[in-house]
Subunit: 277 residues, 2 copies
Amino acid sequence: MKVVSEVRSHGGRQLVLTHDSAATATGMTFSLFLPPQAEQGRVPLVTYLSGLTCTHANVTAKGEYRAACAAHGLAFLAPDTSPRGEGVADEEGWDIGLGAGFYVDATEAPWSSHYRMWSYVTEELPALVATEFAELDMDRQAITGHSMGGHGALTVALRHPGRFRSCSAFAPIVAPTRVPWGQKAFDRYFGGDPDLSRRHDAVALIGDGARVDHLLVDVGGSDPFLDKELRPELLVEACEQSGIPATVRVQKGYDHSYFFVSSFLGEHLAWHAAHLG
Amino acid sequence: MKVVSEVRSHGGRQLVLTHDSAATATGMTFSLFLPPQAEQGRVPLVTYLSGLTCTHANVTAKGEYRAACAAHGLAFLAPDTSPRGEGVADEEGWDIGLGAGFYVDATEAPWSSHYRMWSYVTEELPALVATEFAELDMDRQAITGHSMGGHGALTVALRHPGRFRSCSAFAPIVAPTRVPWGQKAFDRYFGGDPDLSRRHDAVALIGDGARVDHLLVDVGGSDPFLDKELRPELLVEACEQSGIPATVRVQKGYDHSYFFVSSFLGEHLAWHAAHLG
Protein backbone atom coordinates (compact mmCIF):
# COMPACT_ATOMS: atom_id res chain seq x y z
CA MET A 1 0.00 0.00 0.00
CA LYS A 2 1.27 3.45 -0.91
CA VAL A 3 0.24 6.88 0.30
CA VAL A 4 -0.72 9.01 -2.70
CA SER A 5 -1.42 12.07 -0.58
CA GLU A 6 -1.98 13.06 3.02
CA VAL A 7 -3.37 16.40 4.15
CA ARG A 8 -4.60 17.75 7.44
CA SER A 9 -8.27 18.66 7.39
CA HIS A 10 -10.81 19.35 10.14
CA GLY A 11 -8.21 18.33 12.71
CA GLY A 12 -7.71 14.88 11.19
CA ARG A 13 -5.80 13.19 8.37
CA GLN A 14 -7.27 12.91 4.88
CA LEU A 15 -5.39 10.14 3.09
CA VAL A 16 -5.50 8.85 -0.47
CA LEU A 17 -3.96 5.40 -0.83
CA THR A 18 -3.25 2.93 -3.59
CA HIS A 19 -2.53 -0.78 -3.57
CA ASP A 20 -2.45 -3.83 -5.81
CA SER A 21 -5.75 -5.61 -5.46
CA ALA A 22 -5.91 -9.39 -5.64
CA ALA A 23 -9.70 -9.23 -6.05
CA THR A 24 -9.67 -7.04 -9.16
CA ALA A 25 -6.14 -7.89 -10.37
CA THR A 26 -5.54 -4.14 -10.84
CA GLY A 27 -4.25 -1.26 -8.81
CA MET A 28 -7.01 0.29 -6.68
CA THR A 29 -7.17 3.75 -5.13
CA PHE A 30 -9.25 4.77 -2.14
CA SER A 31 -9.48 7.57 0.40
CA LEU A 32 -9.56 7.31 4.17
CA PHE A 33 -10.23 10.08 6.67
CA LEU A 34 -8.95 9.54 10.19
CA PRO A 35 -10.56 11.93 12.67
CA PRO A 36 -8.56 13.65 15.44
CA GLN A 37 -9.87 11.05 17.93
CA ALA A 38 -7.86 8.37 16.10
CA GLU A 39 -4.72 9.83 17.72
CA GLN A 40 -6.09 8.87 21.14
CA GLY A 41 -7.66 5.48 20.49
CA ARG A 42 -9.65 3.29 18.12
CA VAL A 43 -12.49 4.83 16.15
CA PRO A 44 -15.50 3.35 14.33
CA LEU A 45 -15.40 3.07 10.54
CA VAL A 46 -18.04 4.31 8.09
CA THR A 47 -17.65 2.98 4.55
CA TYR A 48 -19.11 5.14 1.77
CA LEU A 49 -19.78 3.57 -1.63
CA SER A 50 -19.91 6.04 -4.52
CA GLY A 51 -22.22 6.25 -7.51
CA LEU A 52 -21.95 5.89 -11.28
CA THR A 53 -19.06 7.80 -12.95
CA CYS A 54 -17.40 8.55 -9.59
CA THR A 55 -14.08 7.60 -8.06
CA HIS A 56 -13.02 8.01 -4.40
CA ALA A 57 -12.29 11.64 -5.30
CA ASN A 58 -15.84 12.94 -5.72
CA VAL A 59 -17.02 12.44 -2.17
CA THR A 60 -13.57 13.28 -0.83
CA ALA A 61 -13.74 16.73 -2.47
CA LYS A 62 -17.47 17.45 -2.34
CA GLY A 63 -19.05 15.26 0.34
CA GLU A 64 -18.55 17.65 3.29
CA TYR A 65 -18.19 14.68 5.66
CA ARG A 66 -15.05 15.66 7.56
CA ALA A 67 -16.68 18.16 9.95
CA ALA A 68 -19.17 15.52 11.14
CA CYS A 69 -16.51 12.79 11.27
CA ALA A 70 -14.32 15.03 13.41
CA ALA A 71 -17.26 15.97 15.66
CA HIS A 72 -18.27 12.33 16.22
CA GLY A 73 -14.91 10.57 15.97
CA LEU A 74 -15.62 8.53 12.83
CA ALA A 75 -13.20 7.24 10.20
CA PHE A 76 -14.54 7.47 6.63
CA LEU A 77 -13.50 5.05 3.89
CA ALA A 78 -14.29 5.75 0.22
CA PRO A 79 -13.33 3.09 -2.36
CA ASP A 80 -13.42 3.47 -6.14
CA THR A 81 -16.45 2.29 -8.14
CA SER A 82 -14.71 -0.11 -10.55
CA PRO A 83 -11.34 -1.53 -11.49
CA ARG A 84 -9.35 0.68 -13.84
CA GLY A 85 -6.22 0.45 -15.96
CA GLU A 86 -4.81 -1.35 -18.93
CA GLY A 87 -6.73 -4.47 -19.94
CA VAL A 88 -9.84 -3.57 -17.96
CA ALA A 89 -12.95 -4.04 -20.09
CA ASP A 90 -15.16 -1.08 -20.84
CA GLU A 91 -18.07 -0.24 -23.10
CA GLU A 92 -19.46 3.00 -24.46
CA GLY A 93 -21.69 4.86 -22.06
CA TRP A 94 -21.28 5.94 -18.44
CA ASP A 95 -23.58 3.36 -16.83
CA ILE A 96 -21.51 0.25 -17.50
CA GLY A 97 -17.84 -0.67 -17.22
CA LEU A 98 -15.42 1.92 -15.83
CA GLY A 99 -16.97 3.84 -12.95
CA ALA A 100 -19.92 1.45 -12.94
CA GLY A 101 -18.87 -1.74 -11.18
CA PHE A 102 -22.21 -2.05 -9.33
CA TYR A 103 -20.46 -3.76 -6.41
CA VAL A 104 -20.77 -7.24 -7.90
CA ASP A 105 -18.37 -10.02 -8.92
CA ALA A 106 -18.96 -10.38 -12.65
CA THR A 107 -19.25 -13.90 -14.01
CA GLU A 108 -19.36 -13.10 -17.74
CA ALA A 109 -16.47 -12.33 -20.10
CA PRO A 110 -14.93 -9.85 -20.63
CA TRP A 111 -16.00 -8.42 -17.25
CA SER A 112 -15.15 -11.38 -15.04
CA SER A 113 -11.36 -10.89 -15.21
CA HIS A 114 -11.38 -7.63 -13.21
CA TYR A 115 -14.89 -6.58 -12.23
CA ARG A 116 -14.91 -8.15 -8.76
CA MET A 117 -16.00 -5.17 -6.70
CA TRP A 118 -18.11 -7.29 -4.33
CA SER A 119 -15.08 -9.23 -3.15
CA TYR A 120 -13.09 -6.02 -3.09
CA VAL A 121 -15.39 -3.95 -0.87
CA THR A 122 -16.65 -6.79 1.35
CA GLU A 123 -13.40 -8.69 1.89
CA GLU A 124 -10.13 -7.35 0.55
CA LEU A 125 -10.42 -3.66 1.37
CA PRO A 126 -11.76 -4.07 4.94
CA ALA A 127 -9.01 -6.62 5.64
CA LEU A 128 -6.38 -4.27 4.23
CA VAL A 129 -7.41 -1.21 6.25
CA ALA A 130 -7.84 -3.31 9.39
CA THR A 131 -4.24 -4.49 9.01
CA GLU A 132 -2.73 -1.17 8.01
CA PHE A 133 -4.64 1.12 10.39
CA ALA A 134 -4.70 -0.09 13.97
CA GLU A 135 -6.73 3.06 14.73
CA LEU A 136 -9.83 1.45 13.18
CA ASP A 137 -12.25 -0.46 15.39
CA MET A 138 -13.60 -2.99 12.88
CA ASP A 139 -16.14 -4.21 15.43
CA ARG A 140 -17.91 -0.87 15.08
CA GLN A 141 -18.76 -0.36 11.42
CA ALA A 142 -21.47 1.41 9.47
CA ILE A 143 -22.07 1.69 5.74
CA THR A 144 -23.61 4.26 3.42
CA GLY A 145 -23.52 5.18 -0.24
CA HIS A 146 -24.97 7.21 -3.08
CA SER A 147 -27.07 5.99 -6.03
CA MET A 148 -25.27 2.88 -7.37
CA GLY A 149 -23.32 3.10 -4.08
CA GLY A 150 -26.58 3.23 -2.15
CA HIS A 151 -27.44 -0.06 -3.85
CA GLY A 152 -24.02 -1.31 -2.80
CA ALA A 153 -24.45 -0.18 0.81
CA LEU A 154 -27.87 -1.85 1.09
CA THR A 155 -26.85 -5.16 -0.47
CA VAL A 156 -23.55 -5.36 1.42
CA ALA A 157 -25.29 -4.66 4.74
CA LEU A 158 -28.17 -7.06 4.03
CA ARG A 159 -25.77 -9.88 3.20
CA HIS A 160 -23.44 -9.33 6.18
CA PRO A 161 -25.72 -9.50 9.20
CA GLY A 162 -23.98 -8.28 12.33
CA ARG A 163 -21.12 -6.56 10.55
CA PHE A 164 -22.70 -3.10 10.30
CA ARG A 165 -24.53 -1.52 13.21
CA SER A 166 -26.37 0.82 10.85
CA CYS A 167 -26.89 1.33 7.13
CA SER A 168 -27.91 4.46 5.27
CA ALA A 169 -28.16 5.54 1.66
CA PHE A 170 -28.62 8.56 -0.58
CA ALA A 171 -30.83 8.11 -3.64
CA PRO A 172 -30.12 4.37 -3.77
CA ILE A 173 -31.02 2.01 -6.59
CA VAL A 174 -33.14 -0.25 -4.37
CA ALA A 175 -34.37 -2.80 -6.91
CA PRO A 176 -31.81 -3.10 -9.72
CA THR A 177 -33.49 -6.15 -11.26
CA ARG A 178 -36.53 -3.99 -12.00
CA VAL A 179 -34.92 -0.81 -13.39
CA PRO A 180 -32.90 -0.03 -16.55
CA TRP A 181 -29.52 0.75 -14.91
CA GLY A 182 -29.53 -2.46 -12.94
CA GLN A 183 -30.94 -4.63 -15.72
CA LYS A 184 -28.23 -3.43 -18.09
CA ALA A 185 -25.48 -4.01 -15.53
CA PHE A 186 -26.67 -7.45 -14.48
CA ASP A 187 -27.13 -8.44 -18.12
CA ARG A 188 -23.47 -7.59 -18.82
CA TYR A 189 -21.95 -8.79 -15.56
CA PHE A 190 -24.07 -11.92 -14.91
CA GLY A 191 -25.54 -12.61 -18.36
CA GLY A 192 -28.82 -11.79 -16.61
CA ASP A 193 -28.58 -14.86 -14.33
CA PRO A 194 -31.70 -14.46 -12.16
CA ASP A 195 -30.31 -16.06 -8.98
CA LEU A 196 -27.14 -13.98 -8.98
CA SER A 197 -29.12 -10.86 -9.86
CA ARG A 198 -31.54 -11.47 -7.01
CA ARG A 199 -28.67 -11.66 -4.53
CA HIS A 200 -27.69 -8.11 -5.57
CA ASP A 201 -31.14 -6.57 -5.33
CA ALA A 202 -31.94 -5.01 -1.94
CA VAL A 203 -35.70 -5.32 -2.25
CA ALA A 204 -35.43 -8.94 -3.38
CA LEU A 205 -32.98 -9.73 -0.55
CA ILE A 206 -35.42 -8.33 2.01
CA GLY A 207 -38.17 -10.40 0.41
CA ASP A 208 -35.91 -13.44 0.84
CA GLY A 209 -35.45 -12.74 4.54
CA ALA A 210 -32.33 -10.54 4.78
CA ARG A 211 -32.43 -7.82 7.43
CA VAL A 212 -30.56 -4.75 8.66
CA ASP A 213 -30.89 -3.38 12.18
CA HIS A 214 -31.22 0.33 11.39
CA LEU A 215 -31.85 1.97 8.04
CA LEU A 216 -31.95 5.64 7.00
CA VAL A 217 -32.52 6.69 3.38
CA ASP A 218 -32.77 10.14 1.80
CA VAL A 219 -33.92 10.72 -1.77
CA GLY A 220 -34.23 14.06 -3.54
CA GLY A 221 -37.77 14.99 -4.49
CA SER A 222 -36.51 16.57 -7.73
CA ASP A 223 -34.08 13.77 -8.54
CA PRO A 224 -34.49 13.12 -12.28
CA PHE A 225 -33.88 9.39 -11.72
CA LEU A 226 -36.47 9.03 -8.95
CA ASP A 227 -39.29 7.26 -10.75
CA LYS A 228 -37.40 5.28 -13.35
CA GLU A 229 -34.22 4.11 -11.59
CA LEU A 230 -34.50 4.64 -7.83
CA ARG A 231 -38.10 3.72 -6.93
CA PRO A 232 -37.81 4.25 -3.16
CA GLU A 233 -41.44 3.17 -2.70
CA LEU A 234 -40.35 -0.43 -3.35
CA LEU A 235 -37.93 -0.21 -0.42
CA VAL A 236 -40.55 1.35 1.84
CA GLU A 237 -42.96 -1.46 1.00
CA ALA A 238 -40.33 -4.17 1.56
CA CYS A 239 -39.33 -2.69 4.93
CA GLU A 240 -42.95 -2.40 6.05
CA GLN A 241 -43.66 -6.00 5.12
CA SER A 242 -40.51 -7.30 6.79
CA GLY A 243 -40.53 -5.16 9.92
CA ILE A 244 -37.19 -3.47 9.18
CA PRO A 245 -37.12 -0.18 11.12
CA ALA A 246 -36.52 2.17 8.20
CA THR A 247 -36.72 5.93 7.80
CA VAL A 248 -37.09 6.79 4.12
CA ARG A 249 -37.38 10.52 3.42
CA VAL A 250 -38.10 12.34 0.17
CA GLN A 251 -36.31 15.69 0.47
CA LYS A 252 -38.33 18.29 -1.42
CA GLY A 253 -36.50 20.16 -4.17
CA TYR A 254 -33.21 18.26 -4.01
CA ASP A 255 -31.59 16.65 -7.05
CA HIS A 256 -29.18 13.71 -7.47
CA SER A 257 -25.92 15.64 -7.04
CA TYR A 258 -23.38 16.15 -4.27
CA PHE A 259 -25.25 19.37 -3.43
CA PHE A 260 -27.92 16.93 -2.19
CA VAL A 261 -25.59 14.36 -0.62
CA SER A 262 -23.55 16.98 1.25
CA SER A 263 -26.73 18.55 2.64
CA PHE A 264 -27.60 15.39 4.57
CA LEU A 265 -24.37 13.42 4.95
CA GLY A 266 -23.54 15.20 8.22
CA GLU A 267 -26.91 14.19 9.62
CA HIS A 268 -26.43 10.59 8.45
CA LEU A 269 -23.02 10.48 10.14
CA ALA A 270 -24.49 11.77 13.42
CA TRP A 271 -27.15 9.04 13.15
CA HIS A 272 -24.50 6.36 12.47
CA ALA A 273 -22.44 7.68 15.39
CA ALA A 274 -25.41 7.25 17.72
CA HIS A 275 -25.67 3.57 16.69
CA LEU A 276 -21.92 3.01 16.78
CA GLY A 277 -21.70 4.16 20.39
CA MET B 1 -28.06 38.23 -15.96
CA LYS B 2 -28.73 34.55 -16.68
CA VAL B 3 -29.07 31.61 -14.36
CA VAL B 4 -26.54 28.93 -15.37
CA SER B 5 -27.70 26.51 -12.69
CA GLU B 6 -29.75 26.42 -9.54
CA VAL B 7 -29.78 23.56 -7.05
CA ARG B 8 -31.18 23.11 -3.60
CA SER B 9 -28.50 22.54 -0.97
CA HIS B 10 -28.50 22.74 2.83
CA GLY B 11 -32.04 24.08 2.70
CA GLY B 12 -31.10 27.04 0.50
CA ARG B 13 -30.50 27.84 -3.16
CA GLN B 14 -27.05 27.46 -4.74
CA LEU B 15 -27.04 29.58 -7.89
CA VAL B 16 -24.46 30.02 -10.63
CA LEU B 17 -25.06 33.15 -12.70
CA THR B 18 -23.53 34.85 -15.70
CA HIS B 19 -23.78 38.41 -17.02
CA ASP B 20 -22.06 40.86 -19.35
CA SER B 21 -19.69 42.94 -17.30
CA ALA B 22 -19.13 46.60 -18.19
CA ALA B 23 -16.06 46.67 -15.93
CA THR B 24 -14.21 43.84 -17.66
CA ALA B 25 -15.95 44.07 -21.04
CA THR B 26 -16.39 40.28 -20.93
CA GLY B 27 -18.95 37.84 -19.70
CA MET B 28 -18.47 37.06 -16.01
CA THR B 29 -19.69 34.06 -14.01
CA PHE B 30 -20.22 33.95 -10.26
CA SER B 31 -21.97 31.81 -7.67
CA LEU B 32 -24.40 32.94 -4.99
CA PHE B 33 -25.80 30.87 -2.14
CA LEU B 34 -29.04 32.08 -0.60
CA PRO B 35 -29.71 30.46 2.78
CA PRO B 36 -33.17 29.27 3.83
CA GLN B 37 -33.63 32.46 5.87
CA ALA B 38 -33.68 34.47 2.61
CA GLU B 39 -37.19 33.13 2.01
CA GLN B 40 -38.39 34.96 5.14
CA GLY B 41 -36.50 38.26 4.94
CA ARG B 42 -33.24 40.01 4.07
CA VAL B 43 -29.97 38.32 4.93
CA PRO B 44 -26.38 39.60 5.29
CA LEU B 45 -23.92 39.00 2.46
CA VAL B 46 -20.46 37.48 2.75
CA THR B 47 -18.26 37.93 -0.32
CA TYR B 48 -15.52 35.34 -0.84
CA LEU B 49 -12.62 36.14 -3.19
CA SER B 50 -10.82 33.10 -4.59
CA GLY B 51 -7.14 32.42 -5.12
CA LEU B 52 -4.82 31.89 -8.07
CA THR B 53 -6.01 29.41 -10.75
CA CYS B 54 -9.52 29.30 -9.28
CA THR B 55 -12.93 30.27 -10.62
CA HIS B 56 -16.17 30.61 -8.63
CA ALA B 57 -16.45 26.82 -8.94
CA ASN B 58 -13.64 25.77 -6.58
CA VAL B 59 -15.09 27.18 -3.38
CA THR B 60 -18.62 26.36 -4.54
CA ALA B 61 -17.70 22.66 -4.81
CA LYS B 62 -15.09 22.33 -2.06
CA GLY B 63 -15.51 25.21 0.40
CA GLU B 64 -18.05 23.50 2.70
CA TYR B 65 -19.63 26.90 3.48
CA ARG B 66 -23.30 26.10 2.97
CA ALA B 67 -23.90 24.36 6.32
CA ALA B 68 -22.62 27.41 8.22
CA CYS B 69 -24.43 29.86 5.92
CA ALA B 70 -27.67 27.97 6.51
CA ALA B 71 -27.07 27.84 10.26
CA HIS B 72 -26.38 31.56 10.50
CA GLY B 73 -28.54 32.92 7.68
CA LEU B 74 -25.76 34.25 5.48
CA ALA B 75 -25.70 34.68 1.71
CA PHE B 76 -22.35 33.77 0.11
CA LEU B 77 -21.09 35.41 -3.09
CA ALA B 78 -18.12 33.97 -5.01
CA PRO B 79 -16.88 35.87 -8.09
CA ASP B 80 -14.35 34.65 -10.63
CA THR B 81 -10.66 35.63 -10.32
CA SER B 82 -10.14 37.25 -13.72
CA PRO B 83 -11.88 38.13 -16.96
CA ARG B 84 -12.00 35.27 -19.45
CA GLY B 85 -12.90 34.73 -23.09
CA GLU B 86 -11.82 35.69 -26.57
CA GLY B 87 -9.46 38.64 -26.70
CA VAL B 88 -8.54 38.50 -23.01
CA ALA B 89 -4.77 38.76 -22.58
CA ASP B 90 -2.88 35.90 -20.98
CA GLU B 91 0.70 34.82 -20.47
CA GLU B 92 2.35 31.49 -19.79
CA GLY B 93 2.27 30.43 -16.15
CA TRP B 94 -0.54 30.18 -13.62
CA ASP B 95 0.32 33.24 -11.53
CA ILE B 96 -0.50 35.92 -14.09
CA GLY B 97 -3.36 36.55 -16.52
CA LEU B 98 -6.28 34.13 -16.57
CA GLY B 99 -7.21 33.07 -13.03
CA ALA B 100 -4.82 35.65 -11.60
CA GLY B 101 -6.50 39.05 -11.77
CA PHE B 102 -5.21 40.06 -8.31
CA TYR B 103 -8.31 42.23 -7.78
CA VAL B 104 -6.77 45.30 -9.42
CA ASP B 105 -7.66 47.56 -12.37
CA ALA B 106 -4.70 47.11 -14.72
CA THR B 107 -3.26 50.24 -16.31
CA GLU B 108 -0.77 48.62 -18.69
CA ALA B 109 -1.42 47.10 -22.11
CA PRO B 110 -2.41 44.45 -22.96
CA TRP B 111 -3.99 43.90 -19.53
CA SER B 112 -5.84 47.20 -19.19
CA SER B 113 -8.58 46.36 -21.70
CA HIS B 114 -10.20 43.65 -19.56
CA TYR B 115 -8.32 43.17 -16.26
CA ARG B 116 -10.49 45.48 -14.13
CA MET B 117 -11.30 43.15 -11.27
CA TRP B 118 -11.12 45.93 -8.65
CA SER B 119 -14.00 47.81 -10.28
CA TYR B 120 -15.78 44.53 -10.84
CA VAL B 121 -15.72 43.24 -7.25
CA THR B 122 -16.03 46.59 -5.47
CA GLU B 123 -18.63 48.27 -7.67
CA GLU B 124 -20.28 46.38 -10.50
CA LEU B 125 -20.93 43.00 -8.90
CA PRO B 126 -22.28 44.35 -5.56
CA ALA B 127 -24.56 46.73 -7.47
CA LEU B 128 -25.77 43.89 -9.68
CA VAL B 129 -26.61 41.48 -6.87
CA ALA B 130 -28.21 44.26 -4.82
CA THR B 131 -30.53 45.01 -7.76
CA GLU B 132 -31.26 41.42 -8.72
CA PHE B 133 -31.62 39.91 -5.24
CA ALA B 134 -33.86 41.91 -2.93
CA GLU B 135 -33.13 39.20 -0.32
CA LEU B 136 -29.67 40.68 0.28
CA ASP B 137 -29.18 43.25 3.03
CA MET B 138 -26.29 45.25 1.56
CA ASP B 139 -25.99 47.24 4.79
CA ARG B 140 -24.73 44.07 6.46
CA GLN B 141 -21.71 42.82 4.54
CA ALA B 142 -18.55 40.91 5.37
CA ILE B 143 -15.67 39.84 3.16
CA THR B 144 -13.20 36.96 3.13
CA GLY B 145 -10.92 35.22 0.67
CA HIS B 146 -8.13 32.75 0.08
CA SER B 147 -4.51 33.43 -0.91
CA MET B 148 -4.69 35.98 -3.76
CA GLY B 149 -8.33 36.36 -2.67
CA GLY B 150 -7.21 36.96 0.91
CA HIS B 151 -5.15 39.84 -0.47
CA GLY B 152 -8.28 40.98 -2.29
CA ALA B 153 -10.46 40.75 0.82
CA LEU B 154 -7.96 42.72 2.91
CA THR B 155 -7.39 45.50 0.38
CA VAL B 156 -11.08 45.83 -0.52
CA ALA B 157 -12.05 46.05 3.17
CA LEU B 158 -9.23 48.47 4.02
CA ARG B 159 -10.21 50.83 1.21
CA HIS B 160 -13.96 50.74 1.91
CA PRO B 161 -14.28 51.77 5.55
CA GLY B 162 -17.75 51.18 6.89
CA ARG B 163 -18.85 48.85 4.11
CA PHE B 164 -17.81 45.57 5.75
CA ARG B 165 -18.51 44.87 9.40
CA SER B 166 -15.80 42.22 9.47
CA CYS B 167 -12.98 40.92 7.28
CA SER B 168 -11.27 37.55 7.34
CA ALA B 169 -8.77 35.71 5.19
CA PHE B 170 -7.20 32.31 4.59
CA ALA B 171 -3.49 32.24 3.76
CA PRO B 172 -3.60 35.79 2.36
CA ILE B 173 -0.85 37.52 0.41
CA VAL B 174 -0.57 40.40 2.88
CA ALA B 175 2.27 42.40 1.33
CA PRO B 176 2.25 41.83 -2.45
CA THR B 177 4.80 44.58 -3.13
CA ARG B 178 7.34 42.58 -1.15
CA VAL B 179 6.79 39.05 -2.50
CA PRO B 180 7.33 37.41 -5.91
CA TRP B 181 3.67 36.72 -6.80
CA GLY B 182 2.65 40.30 -6.11
CA GLN B 183 5.72 41.88 -7.65
CA LYS B 184 5.20 39.95 -10.87
CA ALA B 185 1.50 40.84 -11.01
CA PHE B 186 1.99 44.53 -10.24
CA ASP B 187 4.83 44.69 -12.76
CA ARG B 188 2.50 43.39 -15.48
CA TYR B 189 -0.68 45.15 -14.44
CA PHE B 190 0.75 48.53 -13.29
CA GLY B 191 4.20 48.54 -14.91
CA GLY B 192 5.40 48.44 -11.32
CA ASP B 193 3.98 51.92 -10.54
CA PRO B 194 4.79 52.29 -6.84
CA ASP B 195 1.81 54.44 -5.86
CA LEU B 196 -0.73 52.15 -7.49
CA SER B 197 1.03 49.10 -6.09
CA ARG B 198 0.99 50.54 -2.59
CA ARG B 199 -2.77 51.04 -2.79
CA HIS B 200 -3.12 47.27 -3.37
CA ASP B 201 -0.85 46.13 -0.55
CA ALA B 202 -2.65 45.46 2.75
CA VAL B 203 0.37 46.00 4.96
CA ALA B 204 1.24 49.25 3.16
CA LEU B 205 -2.38 50.45 3.36
CA ILE B 206 -2.40 49.86 7.11
CA GLY B 207 0.89 51.76 7.33
CA ASP B 208 -0.81 54.61 5.46
CA GLY B 209 -3.66 54.71 7.95
CA ALA B 210 -6.33 52.38 6.53
CA ARG B 211 -8.25 50.36 9.10
CA VAL B 212 -10.73 47.48 9.43
CA ASP B 213 -12.97 46.98 12.46
CA HIS B 214 -12.51 43.24 12.95
CA LEU B 215 -9.96 40.93 11.36
CA LEU B 216 -9.52 37.15 11.53
CA VAL B 217 -6.78 35.36 9.56
CA ASP B 218 -5.83 31.69 9.38
CA VAL B 219 -2.67 30.41 7.74
CA GLY B 220 -1.56 26.79 7.45
CA GLY B 221 1.63 25.99 9.34
CA SER B 222 2.69 23.60 6.55
CA ASP B 223 1.69 25.94 3.73
CA PRO B 224 4.52 25.74 1.18
CA PHE B 225 4.03 29.44 0.33
CA LEU B 226 4.15 30.64 3.94
CA ASP B 227 7.59 32.20 4.13
CA LYS B 228 8.08 33.35 0.55
CA GLU B 229 4.66 34.62 -0.55
CA LEU B 230 2.31 34.99 2.44
CA ARG B 231 4.46 36.40 5.26
CA PRO B 232 1.72 36.70 7.88
CA GLU B 233 4.19 38.18 10.36
CA LEU B 234 4.12 41.42 8.37
CA LEU B 235 0.36 41.67 8.89
CA VAL B 236 0.67 40.89 12.59
CA GLU B 237 3.27 43.63 12.96
CA ALA B 238 1.19 46.17 11.01
CA CYS B 239 -1.93 45.40 13.06
CA GLU B 240 -0.02 45.69 16.33
CA GLN B 241 1.45 49.03 15.34
CA SER B 242 -1.88 50.40 14.13
CA GLY B 243 -4.14 49.04 16.86
CA ILE B 244 -6.27 46.93 14.50
CA PRO B 245 -7.90 44.18 16.57
CA ALA B 246 -6.64 41.18 14.63
CA THR B 247 -6.55 37.47 15.33
CA VAL B 248 -3.90 35.82 13.14
CA ARG B 249 -3.54 32.08 13.69
CA VAL B 250 -1.02 29.65 12.28
CA GLN B 251 -2.83 26.31 12.05
CA LYS B 252 -0.31 23.54 12.63
CA GLY B 253 0.02 20.94 9.88
CA TYR B 254 -2.39 22.54 7.39
CA ASP B 255 -1.43 23.26 3.78
CA HIS B 256 -2.67 25.82 1.22
CA SER B 257 -5.55 23.75 -0.21
CA TYR B 258 -9.30 23.66 0.20
CA PHE B 259 -8.76 20.89 2.76
CA PHE B 260 -7.39 23.77 4.88
CA VAL B 261 -9.93 26.44 3.86
CA SER B 262 -12.92 24.13 4.41
CA SER B 263 -11.62 23.21 7.88
CA PHE B 264 -11.99 26.77 9.12
CA LEU B 265 -14.46 28.49 6.79
CA GLY B 266 -17.40 27.44 8.95
CA GLU B 267 -15.74 29.03 11.98
CA HIS B 268 -15.02 32.21 10.01
CA LEU B 269 -18.64 32.40 8.93
CA ALA B 270 -19.85 32.03 12.53
CA TRP B 271 -17.47 34.84 13.48
CA HIS B 272 -18.74 37.05 10.64
CA ALA B 273 -22.33 36.26 11.64
CA ALA B 274 -21.64 37.48 15.18
CA HIS B 275 -20.44 40.82 13.78
CA LEU B 276 -23.23 41.04 11.21
CA GLY B 277 -25.90 40.74 13.90
